[in-house]
Amino acid sequence: MPADLVSCAWAILLSPLAAAALILLAGVHRPKLSAAAAIAGLLTGFLCAVRLFLHAHGRHDALLFESSVSWIALPGLTIPFGVLIDPLSLLMALIVTGVGSLIFIYAAGYMAEDAAVSRFYGLLSLFAFSMLTIVLATNWIQLFIGWELVGFSSYMLIGHWYAKPSAAEAGKKAFMVNRVADFGFMLGILALWAASSPTVSQRSFHFLTLERQLSSAIQAGLIPAGTLTLIGLLLFCGPLGKSAQFPLHVWLPDAMEGPTPVSALIHAATMVAAGVYLLCRAFWLFSGLPEVMTVIMWVGGATAFLSACLALVENDLKRILAYSTLSQLGYMVMAVGLGGRAEGMYHLGTHAFFKALLFLSAGSVMHATHELDIWKLGGLARSMRWTSACFLVGALALAGFPGLSGFFSKDEILVLARGHHLGIYVLATLTAGLTAFYTARVWFVAFTGSSRLSTRHGAGGGHHGVQESPPIMLVPLFVLAALSVAGGYLGIPRFLGASHAEFHWDVAATSVAAALTGLTLAWLIYKRQAVSAQQVVQALALPYSFLQRRYWIDEMYGWYVATVQQKLIAGLCAWVERVVIIGAAVNGTAWLTRGAGLLLRRCQTGRVQTYVFVFLIGVAGLLTIALTR
């Protein structure tokens, strides 16, 4: 392959890193420079990715090459660090750099008045580098490195406004939940690495080499099926945390404490999709493990459905979008679990477009109103026309409106589900209905009707105080809106080498019917107010409270962390330390020594004659022994 393509591939990875380094070294107190460096860095990456894409596009021998330097090279262990370019990684790199660039540009407007723009952009660039490290990884360790680094940048960016206790706690929670998941993931990588040992002299972390080695070992029956299943489950722990699947989803809604561009980029479009990307990357392994695939499928399906339910009762605009993200991630994971690698990636791509669009629109709303409670908004469609139009496009795409990108990708997953498992198909279609319902709810409550903003924001009565966002924020919205509309016609699955699934009218009709039902219900309740929302809540009091408390999962974790882990386990260990080890063993020895000294010093009477007498008895005794022997 030509050398300039290799340089391009490296430039995708390294230009954001260079931007981050520049910001750290020179831009700490220069917000403009920082923003410019970060945007330039990621745009360079995007252009390089486009260059590679143009080269690969339309060729039968899809571009596939890698270039790496050795990072650790010890006898018996080589870990390279490099870039692997194949359709999968190239597609993901395009999404990350493309959507990322738009969000970076948007953030220049959104964060303009922030006090720590440099830190923000530095971390954002670091995030872009880390994410691309995952995407372009040639081996498991490099992937893990990126995996941890995105976790770190996510932690720092969620806690960007660290003065707010809730933001600081949310960042910590996100890091911790991911750490717990990574515990399993790391064990999975270790076990995977070790599993190849009976057949090969030199173990490898390299994706392609390991695939070859393990496949031959599996075919030769050298690896027990149980071991492989265990490895698969352990590896799945990684996506479980990073892609926030049930029951480790709890960190994602809280992560909305971060600035909105962060939510859009990290917690909607890219980082959370890394889990799905990993499943696709190691698809050869998972697809050979039916038990693991079943687990993945059901975890994804459950996440899709359960979080869509949570979105129904949420009132915070960003949190609704977060639950929706969870739900859509569930779709993607489910698709991979159903054996649909291309379908999962397809949905990942379209979701990146429309969810980034939704978040950025929400950010635009927040920028103008400083309000996120949908019940306190309202009437935005009049005061913020462009933002509202963009939000509507995103919402329709999310709801699966025919012809928009979300419709196509979701449809492919539904087709896959129907061919595979009826239960999961029903669940997925139900979720599609719920999605339409909560999306419509947001639209009707927050964007239509009259403004409910307090006078603080809407000075002069009504919505005259609410200003449309500046162009630097609107232009990225327009681009994303265009992508959300056109995403279905870009031929993503074909690029991944999948034959385009046939269009099934029945599946499409069912899903559209489900979506329309949800939409109509929302219209009836929130727009026409044929039934008041209050009445619905009262009629469904029990499930409503169940959803309001988010299935009590947060409480359960809270109880575990505060009571079991902190009070019980850590408290017990600290008690053992204080009482048994320091108190009894160490200080006990000291007291014993002291006590022995107290006893023995009684022999020292201080009377010379006593000493002489005892001495005499000793001499006599020794003499007797010496003489009688």
């Binding site: 262990l77 750490r179 690495w193």
Partner: protein, 524 residues
């Protein structure tokens, strides 16, 4: 004849200590300058050794031998192999930054630096000695100055304002504990000396002798626990660790830096250098037990750290937890795991020195180390806060810092031997994240507190220097680990090959290329 680097590194702080004896008491600036100068010389020497160590030939280099008592076979024999070079570099970095951090000391400055330089000399001596007698001599020399350093310049460990452990208690406990351990180890060393029949304390000679005529296995099995437990006390091996967190907490920050950063490594270093090298049969029998104790170190130490509220105690217990990884790497006795263990000694030493320096700054500015009382300090001291995030992340094994590489190597190297223990070790990383994030959250994040509004950041380049040096060292070795790993591996592999034949045999060529250019392949 030029003085070998090993002699230079050792002599600089020793001469500095001698010079301090004749410097007038009042001239604080001059005293500090002497300390900075001598430790800089050692640091330069250590970096020089790291660069010039000839990796392909391996073995002990930069040797210096001065016979002393010929009839007993005692002589000053200095030298470095890859393992010692790394640890000498670690110590030189900690000593240099520690001297800079010690600028905060205002009382009895001359005496303080005198003891500090003695401590530094002692630790250098241990890492450089190739003679059992002087090994022990320097070991004691490193332990004894801790007593006045903690007893005079330390601070009491308080709980809600009530003294829980006085600094005298901490100093006394540390000294008695470490001396006791040293005596147990000395018994082992003397037994070894007598049993070898070589009438020499010289490590290299003993190694060669044992290579020809190994010691009786039952004897090895008997001596090994003496050395392992004796030196394990300072490592610190569970459950003989309780001197260490309290000692850290009571010591002044620069002493904690050396104590946690380097002193604890003396134990694991001695176990590698003496116990495992000289007594392979003993190692084969006892190391599995050690591996299980390490798990207690990691998990138990981690949970105890989680329950603490004094910042220094948290880091103190985390140190004893993290040293569990080092000992685990030693116990696995595979090339990768031992590489990882040595690298982790380096990484953990720098990280924990950084943490104690940072806590020292926080304590100086706020006069409290009690976590619930702190909060929101990132507003007042952003630089320190940023460094603390780096330290916390290094500690919880974030890629990019040396700790990640080291822990990864321990896990990879140990997985085949002790999967259960390694799995527990991986879990320990989760525990670390819990308390480290809590420290960062509780100290620096949250709303700004009025009582800390006067807190001052490390603002001048000079004040920032020690932190930058430590973070940079962690970052460079963690992002580009090859130079250090090739150095360690050059010495670890022959060691393993000698101790456990067959296990150290390389499955590939040793690494000599430190900077590699990208290799591109078309995969089809």
């Amino acid at each position: 004849m030029p003085i070998p680097l090993s002699g230079l590194i050792l002599a600089a702080p020793a001469l500095g200590a001698l010079a301090l004896m004749v410097v007038p008491n009042r001239r604080h600036a001059f005293v500090r300058r002497i300390a900075v100068a001598t430790t800089s010389v050692s640091l330069a020497g250590a970096i020089g050794a790291m660069v010039t160590y000839h990796r392909a030939s391996g073995g002990y280099q930069h040797e210096l031998a001065v016979p002393w008592i010929r009839s007993l076979g005692i002589g000053l024999h200095l030298g470095m192999d890859g393992i010692s070079v790394v640890l000498v570099l670690l110590h030189a970095l900690c000593a240099f930054t520690g001297v800079l951090i010690s600028y905060a000391i205002k009382e009895r400055v001359k005496e303080y630096y005198l003891f500090y330089l003695l401590l530094i000399t002692g630790v250098f001596g241990v890492f450089l000695s190739l003679d059992l007698f002087f090994f022990y001599f320097f070991y004691e020399m490193a332990v004894i100055p801790m007593y006045p350093l903690i007893g005079i310049w330390g601070s009491d460990v308080k709980e809600r304002g009530i003294v829980r452990f006085s600094k005298e208690y901490a100093a006394m406990k540390l000294t008695i504990y470490l001396t006791l351990g040293a005596v147990v180890a000395l018994t082992g060393l003397l037994w070894l000396y007598a049993a070898s029949g070589a009438r020499t304390f010289d490590l290299v000679t003993l190694q060669q002798r044992f290579a020809g005529t190994p010691l009786d296995p039952s004897l090895q099995r008997a001596i090994f626990p003496l050395l392992a437990v004796g030196f394990g006390v300072i490592a610190p091996m569970w459950p003989l660790h309780s001197w260490s967190p309290i000692g850290h907490a009571a010591a002044p920050s620069a002493v904690s830096m050396l104590h946690a950063g380097v002193l604890m490594k003396l134990g694991s270093y001695a176990i590698i250098r003496l116990a495992v090298t000289l007594l392979p049969e003993g190692a084969a029998v006892w190391l599995p037990w050690l591996a299980s104790l390490c798990v207690m170190n990691i998990i138990y130490g981690g949970f105890v750290a989680m329950a603490q509220k004094d910042l220094k105690l948290i880091i103190g217990y985390s140190s004893s937890s993290h040293m569990g990884y080092v000992l685990l790497g030693v116990a696995c006795l595979t090339p990768l795991a031992l590489d990882g263990a040595v690298m982790l000694m380096f990484a953990h030493g720098l990280m924990t020195a950084l943490a104690f320096a940072l806590i020292g700054h926080v304590y100086d500015q706020t006069h409290t180390r009690w976590l619930p009382d702190l909060g929101g300090l990132a507003h007042q001291i952003p630089f320190i806060a940023g460094c603390s995030v780096a330290a916390a992340m290094a500690s919880s094994g974030l890629p990019g810092f040396a700790n990640f590489v080291a822990e990864l190597l321990v896990f990879l190297g140990g997985w085949d031997r002790y999967p259960v223990q390694i799995a527990c070790g991986v879990f320990g990383v989760v525990i670390t994240a819990v308390y480290m994030l809590r420290v960062v959250r509780g100290t620096f994040f949250g709303e700004s507190k009025r009582q800390f509004s006067h807190a001052r950041d490390a603002a001048t380049p000079f004040a920032r220097l020690p932190y930058v040096v430590l973070i940079l060292a962690l970052f460079v070795t963690g992002s580009w680990p090859k130079p250090m790993l090739s150095l360690i591996d050059a010495s670890v592999r022959p060691l393993i090959e000698r101790v456990a034949p067959g296990r150290g045999r390389p499955a590939g060529e040793p690494i000599t290329v430190l900077i590699s250019t990208p290799v591109s392949v078309e995969v089809r």
